[in-house]
Symmetry: C2
Subunit: 376 residues, 2 copies
C-alpha cells in the first residue's frame, strides 16, 4: 500500500480526519455535484453558473447576459466563541446552516437574489470527518433553502474551527436597497419580531442560575432561531424589485443598532412606537426571568435576520397587498424624523432614547439590561 | 466623558485595541475612501462600483452594463501558522499584502480582470491598533498594485488572527480560462521560476542548523517572494482575452501539484523538460544547503503565484510576441501527452515521475526532499 493509499483509507472504527485533499473531496463532493449549467437570477436577469464547485477550478464562473447590479458581502461567524455550539446545543449542521443564512441575509437586505456562496471552513484535528461533513451539509442545506448554491471556497486545517463566507447576488440595474435613502416622514418597518437569538444567548449559558427553566417548547423556540434562521430573500425582492423601500438593512446586529445605523446613513432621526414593536413571547419570557424589560431585550444585540426598512407612507397599502399576496408579513414600528435622534414613545406619549443594548463587538453586554444582574 | 467617548480615545503611550466599531472605522477609513463611482473592468467591459466600502452598507454594489463572465474565489491565509510571520520576518503589512495577492492570483488564473476584494480580518486583543492598521494597509496596497479595490468585508475580534478574503473579477463572456482544456501536444508553460516561497519556508525556520547562513541579498530575495508577491494579472489577461491558453492555473500549491491538477482536470498526461524549468538561484542555494535537488525544491509545495498554462504549439509565436510587447515573459517547460502520467525527462532522455513534494495540506513535508534530513 502506497503512503497515498494509506492516507485515503478510512478505518471504520476510528474517527477519520479530513485534512487531506483527496479525502476531503470525497467527503464533500455529494454537496457540490451538478452545479455547472444552472440558471440563476430570476426577475428577467440572465445568470448562468458556467463552472460551479463541481468544475473544481481556481474560481467559480458565471455568465451574465444582461445588464444588472451585482452585490457582494462577507461575514465571518464566530467559531470557538459560538457559545451555544460550545454548550452542545447546536450541531455542526446547525452552525453550517447559520453561516450560509447569515451571509445570504446581507444579499436579501440589498433586495437582491442570491446567486451563490463561497464558504471558508477550516478546522482542527479534533474535528473528525463526520462532524466536518455535518458542517458542509448544513451550509449546503442553508444555501438550498435560500434558493442558491455553495459554489466553492476554501477547506482545510487550522488551530481552531473557522467559519467564514461570501455571498453574492444580483438585482435589476440600480435597484439595490441602500441604508441611506430614508427621508423624514417615511414609515419604519420590520419583517418580524427581533431579539430571539440574543435572548437564547442570554438564557442558555446561565440557565442553571435561574429559579426555574423555561418550558421545553419555549427553549426549543429559542434554539430554533439559531438552528434554522431564515434569510428574508422573498421580502427583500418585493421591496427591491418594486422600489418600495427607501432604505433597508438586516437586523443582524439587533433592532436598536440597525435603526441607529439607518439613521446615521440616511441623516434622519427615528421615533419608534413602543406598543407596535412585535415581541416574541419567548423573548418576553427570558426578559422576565432576567428581570429585564421585554422591549429592551427584543431590541438589543441579537443576530436575527429580519429586514428593517423604511417606506413612503403613500406606498404602504400597495406594498402590504403585495406582501399578503406572497404570504409574507411586516410590521410598521415607527417613523423617520428630522431630529437626528433615535428615540421611542410609549402609549402615554412618554419619549425616551431607544431601549436596549446595541451590538458593539465584544463591548456589548446583554447583562446591562438586567436590573438585578446574574453573574456568569 | 461618556463611556462611548472614552472608548474612542486613543491614549498615545498605550497600545490601543480595535474591537470597537467606531474606532475601527476611524482606523481603516483612510483605506476605504472615494471608491463609489469608480469604473473598473477594462477590455470593453462596463463595470462601475456604485457603492464601495465608503458607502458602509450591507454589501458592495457594482453596476454591470454589458454581458460578461464573472469569476469569484475565496482563500483563507494561515494566521498563526504563518511561520515567517511568527519568526518576525514578515510584518502585519506583509501578511495583509500577501492575503490580497493570494486571492487576486486566482482571478488572474482565470484570465480575468479583478474588480474587487472582500477581506476578513479578525484578531485577538494582543494585536494593537498599529499592527491591525498595518494589516489593513497591506491589503490596501496589494489591491492597489493589482489595480483593484478592497470594497469591504468583515473586521472584528477573535481568539487568533484570522485572514481570509474573496476576490472577484470579470472577463469577456465565455473567455474564462479553465484547468480542463489542455490537449495532448499542447505546450506547457510557466510565467516564471517557482519554489521561492517554499524555499524560504524550508530555509528560515532551520537557518541556525545550517553550516552557514546564505548571503544577505539571497535571504532578502527569499523573503521578497513573501513580502511582495505578484499576481500575474497582466499575463492572465493576455492569455484569456486572446484565448491563447487552453488551460491555466496559478502555482499557489507549487508547480508539481499544479501540473498534476491540470493533468487530472484535462484528462491528459504531461512530460516536463527538466533542463527548461527555470530555477531561481536562491532556490538552488537553499537546495544545496538542504542536500536536496534544486529542480525538486523548485517544483515542490510553495505558495508562488506564477501562472502555469498550456497553449497550442501553433499559437506560441503570436503569444510570445504579445507578451514581449507588454514586457511580460513565460517559459516553455514541457508538453501535454496522452499517457495520463506526469513525468519529467532530462537532457539524456531519462524519464522519471515528476520530482518534488506536492502540496497536500499538512501532510506535505518539504523535508522529504532532503537526502540527509535536518530535524526540526
Amino acid at each position: 500500500m502506497s503512503p497515498r493509499e494509506e492516507q485515503d483509507t478510512v478505518h471504520p472504527h476510528q474517527p477519520a480526519y479530513s485534512d487531506e485533499p483527496t479525502r476531503v473531496r470525497q467527503l464533500v463532493s455529494e454537496f457540490l455535484t451538478d452545479q455547472s449549467g444552472t440558471s440563476l437570477g430570476g426577475d428577467g436577469l440572465e445568470v448562468r453558473l458556467t463552472a460551479g464547485a463541481d468544475a473544481r477550478d481556481d474560481c467559480a464562473v458565471y455568465d451574465l447576459s444582461s445588464p444588472m447590479s451585482l452585490v457582494v458581502g462577507s461575514d465571518y461567524v464566530r467559531g470557538p466563541k459560538f457559545v451555544l455550539y460550545e454548550l452542545g446545543l447546536l450541531s455542526g449542521f446547525d452552525i453550517g446552516y447559520y453561516l450560509a443564512v447569515a451571509n445570504i441575509s446581507d444579499i436579501a437586505a440589498m433586495g437582491a437574489t442570491p446567486i451563490g456562496l463561497l464558504s471558508v471552513v477550516r478546522y482542527p484535528h479534533e474535528v473528525d470527518d463526520a462532524e466536518f461533513r455535518e458542517v458542509m451539509a448544513g451550509i449546503h442545506q442553508g444555501c438550498t433553502d435560500c434558493g442558491t448554491l455553495n459554489v466553492g471556497g476554501d477547506i482545510g486545517n487550522a488551530e481552531r474551527i473557522i467559519l467564514s463566507a461570501t455571498a453574492f447576488g444580483v438585482c435589476k440595474p440600480g435597484s439595490a436597497l441602500m441604508r441611506s435613502g430614508a427621508r423624514p416622514g417615511d414609515l419604519l418597518c420590520v419583517t418580524g419580531p427581533c431579539g430571539l437569538l440574543g435572548a437564547a444567548v442570554a438564557y442558555f449559558p446561565r440557565r442553571d442560575t435561574f429559579a426555574k427553566a423555561l418550558p421545553e417548547e419555549v427553549e426549543r423556540r429559542l434554539l430554533d432561531g439559531w438552528k434554522r434562521p431564515r434569510a428574508r430573500v422573498a421580502e427583500g425582492r418585493v421591496l427591491g424589485t418594486k422600489s418600495y423601500a427607501t432604505a433597508c438593512q438586516d437586523t443582524s446586529d439587533g433592532l436598536k443598532a440597525t435603526v441607529e445605523q439607518i439613521m446615521q446613513a440616511s441623516g434622519v432621526g427615528f421615533r419608534v412606537y413602543e406598543d407596535d414593536v412585535p415581541v416574541d413571547p419567548a423573548v418576553a419570557m427570558v426578559a422576565d426571568l432576567m428581570g429585564a424589560e421585554p422591549l429592551a431585550l427584543a431590541m438589543s444585540a441579537s443576530s436575527d435576520f429580519q429586514l428593517a426598512f423604511t417606506i413612503d407612507a403613500g406606498d404602504l397599502e400597495k406594498c402590504r397587498a403585495e406582501f399578503d399576496l406572497a404570504g409574507l408579513d411586516f410590521f410598521v414600528v415607527g417613523e423617520a424624523t428630522n431630529t437626528g435622534r433615535a428615540e421611542s414613545v410609549n402609549g402615554l406619549g412618554a419619549v425616551r432614547p431607544l431601549p436596549g443594548v446595541a451590538w458593539k463587538h465584544q463591548k456589548s453586554d446583554i447583562s446591562l439590561l438586567v436590573t438585578d444582574p446574574v453573574e456568569d
